[in-house]
Each structure stands twice: as C-alpha cells, then as structure tokens.
Amino acid sequence: MNLLEVTNLSKQYGHDLLALQNISFSVQNGEFVAVIGPSGAGKSTLLRCINRMIDPTDGEVVFDGVQMSKLKKNELRMQRRKIGMIFQHYNLVSRLTVIENVLHGRLGYKSTFAGIVSHYGKDEKKQAFEIIEMLGLTEQVYKRCDQLSGGQKQRVGIARALIQNPRMMLCDEPIASLDPSASKVIMDYLRNISTKLGITCLVNLHQVDVALNYADRIIGVNKGKIVYDGPPNLTPEEVYMIYGSAAGDLIFDVGGQHAS
C-alpha cells in the first residue's frame, strides 16, 4: 500500500491564481522523492497541502490510509505527528535553546497543560539528547538557537522532526539558505534518514543537480502542474520542460554532471 496518495489536488488563491492544478501522485513507504521546479511553481503550496498547513481547494490527500480532508481539528493534530516538517528558514523558536526546540517535536503527544509547562518525560528527554548527539549538536545543547550557524539550525530542525517519530518528512527547500558544504551535510542526513530509518522523504528542491544526486525519484512541477514524474536521470529536454525558459544554466549543469 502507498504511504501517500494525492489525487486531483488543486489550490486556488483569490479568483484566478491557480497555485496547483489537478496534481496526482503517490509515494511508497521509504521512498526519497525530490520535487523540483522553478520558484513560484507551487512546490511549497503542494507540500503544505499534504499536512493541511494550507487547505486545498479541491482534490484528496490520503496519508497512511487516512483521508486528510475529513479530519477534525484534533484528529488532524494526531495525523500531523506522523509527518515531520523541515523549513527553508528552519522555523525555530530562536530565543529558546537547542534542546527546548527539539522537544517541541513531542508537543503533539502531550496534554495541553504538560506542553505549556514544558513537562517532558525522562525517556523523551533521553531520546532528545540521543538525537541531538546523533546530529552532532551535543556541544550546542544549551545554546540559544539564534547563536547557531545556518547548518546547525537546520540540524535542530531535523532533530525536532525526528523526535516526532514520523512516518514521513516534508522538507521545504531545506538547503536554500545554506552554503554548499552545509547543504551537503544536511542532504546526507536526510538521505540517511530515509535509507537507514526507513522514513519516507518528500523534499522540495530548487537545485536540479542536488535532486539528481540524492533522490530515488523526481517529480517536476511547473505552473502548478506535474510535468515530470520518474527516475532521476533527466535529459536536458526534460529539464527544459520543467524549468521552461529559465533552464539555460541548469541544462549546462546537468550536462556537465553526466559527462563526469
């Protein structure tokens, strides 16, 4: 059975701005899928329609056998726990420490009151420290997040998502604000999370070369429509199809990579 099933998904802003048009695809358990496309193609909207951070105008998302649109507020929260989310701007609470931010991933499992007073169980804290250690942030545990580098912040974001014990990770441009070396570290982590932990990853990427290097499968989006869905060996023509006229430099990149 597919972990995620998206059928005829559409999202309309205002009267005539169609951000997504009849998007359909499915993702199997453990897959690493990269969604690529030019900026403004609707990648972010697509990701947010899956966990209903944005409510789609039309169509259906079935995650882990549950129809997302039917869920009431509390059921939606329960379902969201199973989906970790990584953001371009990390979306950490920057005045809090690394450990406090990581533990925020557990809030969905707690009563409102326990969450308000930051009452976490011993095993939760232990897990948090283990994940932090795994991501190489041990020395930063008690640092405030606004004192971290971009790469470190994104690792905190990953830790916060992992401690949710998710079935799937939605990553919205996770490396768009990072330098190349930090980008590589983050992509390596995500790839390992998918391979070793069996967590499905759906990653929005702007960079074709990164997508080709890491993904099992590529979904190309342009102007709110899926224009490519298949294995990560795109021809320059296919890249052109996804990126339109903005593809000039990208095609060159891809060509170079195939040559090497």
Binding site: L103, I131, E133, L162
Partner: protein, 289 residues
C-alpha cells in the same frame, strides 16, 4: 516500527557522531542573565501595581457605583451625541485649527531638528557636541509638552503663541533623537568613500546622508505629526490654545454636557483614525520604494 531502535545502527553512518560524548544529566532548562532580569522585571511590575492600588487616593468614591455610573455616562455620550453650543461647520473649523497647530509645530520642529540632528549624530559630529546635544534633548523630552507651554506662557501669555513655541520645543527634542539615530545607521563606507573623493562635510550631508535616510526621516516626522495632533488637542484643553480640544474642555468641565462631549470625541477620533491610516499607507509606500 520504531526507528529509535535502529539509532545505534544509524550512528556510525553519521559523520559528525563523536563516540564517548554522553550526557547523563537530562536537564532542559538553562538559567541565563536575560531570563532572570526578565522575571525580576515582571515580578516588580506586579508587586508595584498591587502596592499602588493600596496607596491610591480614592477620595470617597465607591468603585462599583462609580463604574456603573461611568457606564451610563458612556452610553449617553456615545449613543446620543448632539451639538448644543456650536454646529457642524464650527466643529470642522475647530478641528482645522487643531490640525493647523499640529502642522505648524511639526514643520518648524522638523526643520530645526534636521540641522541639530546632524550635529547630534555620532558619525557626523564630534563626540563632545553630540553628547552635549543628546543630553540636553533628553531633558527636554523628560518634561511633558504642557509644562513647556506653561513655562512659555509666562512670557507670551496663554494662547496659540505659547502653544506653538512649547510644542515646537518638545517636537525638536523628539525629532533630534529620532533623526540622529537614523543618521547613525548610515553605512560608514558611504561617508568614507565621499570623504575620500574630497567632498566636504555639507556635500556629504546633502549628497549621501539626507538622501539615504530620507525614508526613515519622513516616517519619524509623520509619527510625530500623529503625536502632535493629540498634543494639540491637549493644549486646547489645558493651555488655552483653542481648537477642538478647547471645545472638549468646555463641554466636559463647564457645561457638563455629556452628549456634546460624545460628539466632540467622535470628531477627534475620526481625524486621528484618518491620520493613522494615512501614516500606515505612507509607511508602506516608503518601504517599498
């Protein structure tokens, strides 16, 4: 299927994993100076507030009665506003007088503050001059406009002259601080580059400093315009400067005419809201350009 079981297997896969680093103490709170100061501040505010309520001079007012009475008063004021001592045209005229006072004091104040602000900015002036102006200005701002107006009133008599001078005085104090801080935010490289090309101080000011801080100067000036509107109302009521504030004072303190107080409040409120909307739109436009 819990992935945490496979953590061990995963660890070796991660480049940054350092074996031997273990944390036995799973504490998640860390006390910092900032959090302590924040708590002390909040706690003192609460204590001072409670203590304040004990010491207030309540005269012989019974609070519950007074509040019920206030509610009835509000109801009369705002549901049955009516003209009694003047008509709509005169109301508009009085609002115009108040706006005139606002405009005049803001404009003169801004003009003078622009020059003094240059000398108060650390990066454009000497430290001694800058500090001298800034401390003087801090004292000016510490006193409410009404006191300045009353002080000038001894020499000029109560009325619009004292109000304009006093309000201008306070406006200058406020704007010098705001302007000089805007100037100080200027990129030091720009000044250096112009100085390197042989520009003199006035050229630097007019070619670099004022053009690049114009946006923030304008938005501070509009903000002060809004403040001065409220001050102009106050000066009408408390220092005989005329305008809608004076009418409000007469209606409230002389005729005890609730309906007219309500009506005048509506006049004042609607102008203030228009000013706020204009200022928000201007700020948006300035920021996008």
């Amino acid at each position: 299927m819990n992935y945490l079981d496979s953590l061990e297997a995963l660890r070796t896969q991660f480049p940054s994993y350092k074996s031997g680093v273990t944390l036995h103490n799973y504490s998640i709170k860390k006390v910092t100076k900032a959090s302590i100061v924040m708590r002390i501040t909040l706690l003192s505010l609460v204590i001072l507030t409670v203590y304040g309520f004990y010491t207030f001079d309540y005269k012989d007012i019974r609070i519950i009665d007074a509040i019920t009475q206030a509610l009835t008063t509000f109801k009369t004021m705002f549901t049955q506003p009516r003209f009694n001592h003047f008509n709509f045209g005169q109301g508009v005229y009085q609002v115009a007088v108040t706006l005139g006072l606002t405009f005049l004091t803001t404009l003169i104040g801004a003009f003078i503050a622009l020059f003094l602000g240059l000398f108060a900015a650390q990066n454009l002036s000497s430290t001694v001059v800058s500090n001298a102006i800034k401390s003087f200005v801090a004292v000016i701002r510490a006193i409410d406009t009404v006191l300045w107006v009353l002080i000038f009133a001894v020499a000029a008599g109560l009325g619009s002259v004292a109000a304009v001078i006093g309000m201008t005085f306070h406006t200058i104090g406020y704007l010098i601080k705001a302007y000089s801080e805007s100037f100080e935010e200027l990129d030091p490289g720009v000044i250096e580059a112009l100085r390197g090309s042989g520009a003199n101080w006035w050229q630097i000011v007019f070619q670099a400093v004022i053009p690049s801080s114009a946006t923030s100067l304008l938005s501070w000036t509009f903000m002060r315009f809004e403040i001065n509107y409220a001050v102009a109302v106050a000066m009408g009521a408390a220092a005989g400067a005329g305008g809608i504030g004076f009418e409000l004072f007469m209606a409230g303190n002389h005729y005890y005419d609730l309906r007219e107080v309500g009506l005048i409040t509506y006049f004042i409120l609607s102008v203030a809201i228009v000013l706020e909307l204009v200022s928000i739109r201007l700020k948006l436009r300035l920021n996008t350009h």
